[in-house]
């Protein structure tokens, strides 16, 4: 079973994402900010990461830069999932190593399509 780590400070979004991902057959783990996300990845790299941008403690973009510098950190497919919807943010995310990008609000079809797009 493929694993997906959902990093978002909103419990509601994590719950919505979990339901969508479980329907797609993923085993889901949750983290409330980038630092918690790094702890998860330190223990075991997931196959995919759904990543919010604005979070306390460590933002999504900071998390992504650190992740990609870690050994094995190039492996997870990272899909940003954020309210930031301008080209500058999207470009910054791609430059930092994001594979795909979802602009909130999203639905199950979008999440599924983007994961497929990212190669899963």
């Amino acid at each position: 079973m493929k694993t997906c780590l959902v990093i978002d400070d909103s419990r509601v979004i994590r719950k919505v994402a979990r339901r969508i991902l479980e329907d797609l057959g993923y085993e889901v783990a949750e983290a409330a900010d980038g630092a918690e996300g790094m702890a998860w990845c330190g223990a075991e790299m997931p196959d995919a990461i759904l990543l919010d941008w604005n979070m306390p403690v460590m933002t999504g973009i900071e998390f992504l830069r650190r992740l990609r510098a870690e050994p094995g950190g190039d492996k997870p497919v990272v899909v940003f999932c954020t309210v930031e919807n301008d080209l500058a943010h999207i470009q910054e995310a791609l430059d930092a190593g994001a594979d795909e990008y979802i602009m909130k609000p999203f639905d199950g079809d979008i999440v599924m399509g983007k994961l497929v797009e990212a190669g899963l």
Partner: protein, 276 residues
């Protein structure tokens, strides 16, 4: 809606566009026609249909038929046909045409996502091989859909259905909360209003015809006519592209599926052209 009103819509759609409207899907008919009624200044669908019975105004008839024809579409829908176009159809045809342009038609293009997906691919192909010439045409029954398609402006939801983020960054500009496709991609497409059942024999040759998720919405008679006419459009080495699960068995012997390539069809060499 009354059974008489439903019958009126069903028969209009069949007569004008060969559309098959299921009379039991009242909800669908109402959800399609409510916005049409509002737009045309009527208080209800009943008022709209009464006006149609009173004066058979062509523009009004078409707004009803076009409203019922509105189809669903998405960028790179089903993915595979676009890969097959890039990796198989275009290279084969380029070789066969020897420098003459490959002509591609997106029939019933709705709001244009399919043909623009092709336009983005064609841009990539042209970068790799500047000698490659591919002409793209798109048509729809609905002028409103064509206007939207030509504008190339999409909602945030629409650009997230099937469009890889790198292509969004590369080819779109943000305009308020909408996304506008770049002029160079839009300029690759020629647009025309075409009613598929009005006869296709004069529209010229197209090496590849994308006609996906269209026939299934038509009456059997209309499907047969469209397929028959398409034999005058698609050359023997060309391709007809239908939806991956669409079948044309029982609709005559005009085209044959290509084995191992769901949705791709070729002209049947044994087919005898019906007397026009």
């Amino acid at each position: 809606m009354t059974p008489e009103e439903i019958a009126q819509v069903v028969s209009l759609c069949r007569a004008r566009a060969g559309l098959k409207v299921a009379p039991d899907k009242t909800y669908l008919i109402e959800s399609r026609l409510s916005p049409v009624a509002r737009r045309e200044g009527f208080d209800s669908i009943s008022d709209l249909l009464a006006a149609l019975r009173a004066r058979r105004e062509d523009a009004l008839v078409w707004s009803v038929v076009e409203g019922m024809a509105a189809g669903e579409t998405a960028f790179f829908r089903d993915r595979t046909p676009f890969q097959q176009f890039r990796d198989e159809m275009a290279p084969q045809l380029a070789k066969a045409r020897g420098g003459a342009p490959i002509r591609v038609w997106s029939a019933a293009c709705a709001t244009g996502q399919e043909v623009y997906s092709l336009a983005m691919l064609v841009g990539e192909l042209a970068e790799a091989d500047p000698a490659l010439r591919i002409e793209l045409a798109a048509s729809d029954l609905s002028r409103r859909a064509l206007d939207r398609a030509q504008a190339g402006v999409y909602t945030q939801l629409e650009v997230q259905r099937g469009l890889p983020i790198r292509l969004l960054v590369r080819h779109f500009e943000k305009e308020g909360e909408q996304w506008k496709l770049a002029a160079d991609v839009r300029a690759r497409v020629r647009w025309r209003r075409i009613n598929l059942i009005a006869g296709l024999r004069q529209i010229g040759r197209f090496d590849v015809v994308f006609c996906r998720y269209v026939l299934g919405h038509m009456t059997e008679e209309a499907q047969r006519k469209v397929l028959e006419d398409l034999t005058c459009v698609v050359p023997t080495d060309g391709f007809l592209v239908l939806g991956a699960k669409e079948r044309i068995t029982g609709l005559g012997d005009t085209f044959q599926p290509i084995v191992g390539r769901p949705g791709l069809f070729r002209r049947n060499p044994q087919h005898q052209e019906a007397a026009a």
